[in-house]
Amino acid sequence: MKKVSLEVNGKKVSKEVPDHTLLSVFLRDILNLTGTHVGCDTSQCGACVVHVDGKSIKSCTTFAADLEGTKITTIEGITQNGKLHPMQEAFKKLHGLQCGFCTPGMVMSAIDLLKNNKKPTDAEIREWLEGNICRCTGYQNIVAAVKEAASKM
């Protein structure tokens, strides 16, 4: 067992977990933050993307023990004062989702993109979302939503 102390969505958390606990398991099963989804569980689909110290990573391919002292942001942590994040708002407005399974990861990846690239082109958005797979919408509205959010953020 390993004691892991970190910050999740602004709250300090300290838990004793088995050494092989993945961050995705830590978030979903221990903290009950089920907004982070596990799709492929082989680091391809990106449904599990969260931010660690501001950078997007795949939580299914990271050990919780590895993240001692870090700051994690999940999809639950991006709303402010009960208001949707501009990226969530844009996905909602432009139908950037159908079943919604991939959406938490898409949103978290896209927010990371806009941190370093305020006005990405369609090609840059598609390139960045290489690690996020959607099996419903064909990406068109997702790309449109990221562009819309970029114009609002």
Partner: protein
Amino acid sequence: MKTFNYHTAKDVKEASKLASSNSAYLAGGMTTIPSMKLGLASYKDIIDIKGIKSLSGIKISRKSVKIGSTTKHAEVANSKDVKKAIPSLAALAEGIGDAQVRNRGTIGGSIANNDPSADYPSACIALNAIIHTNNRKIDADKFFKGTFETALKSGEIIEAIEFSIPEKSNYQKYPNPASRYAIVGVYVAKHKDGVNVGVTGAKSCVYNDKNIAKTLSNNFSSSAISNVNVSSSGMNSDIHASAEYRANMIKVFAKKAVEAC
């Protein structure tokens, strides 16, 4: 996944002390963790070396770019110094996997793993890299031994990879559309004393295509490559590409790389 004991090493000495025949070093974990989840690998001890400060960072000198083993792909891709000294190396790093993999995966991990389709090994071959470990320095052409096999001894830690700055260089690849690993990747580098052509994805292990390299050493032009014979013997053949296709792609990408130099 089978459980293990997770250790965080504070320095290289402590890490190597913890190592055994049943342990693995963990940096980004982009291959190690999926392998463990799939049951392809299991360890008694996982030794996290990511926090060891001396293993991370980029140092540029007049002749070389030295990159610490736990430096992430995103750091290499975004480094102004690397972009200036060896732009093709920064571009290679930018093309690995996806953004999240680049935020975690490390150069040392890529090289220690020696996946036959990985990008970085071709850079090591083309750029006459020296692999610095906690015990010795190994030339790249003696480091990559075979599929997932390197010259590293049990418990040996890569500390840094030192690339020679070439006169010109470029890397071209045909990425697998799902994984972005190279179906074929060709890294051409022109040094003062000759040309190297690092080829990845085509055979069981990265190699220097001596025929193309020799031709380019005499005449550094894409048209010169047309006359070189690249045999498909010993090339990989799978659902993505036949051996003959790969052999042809090597010439195509070598030409493209020379033209982009």
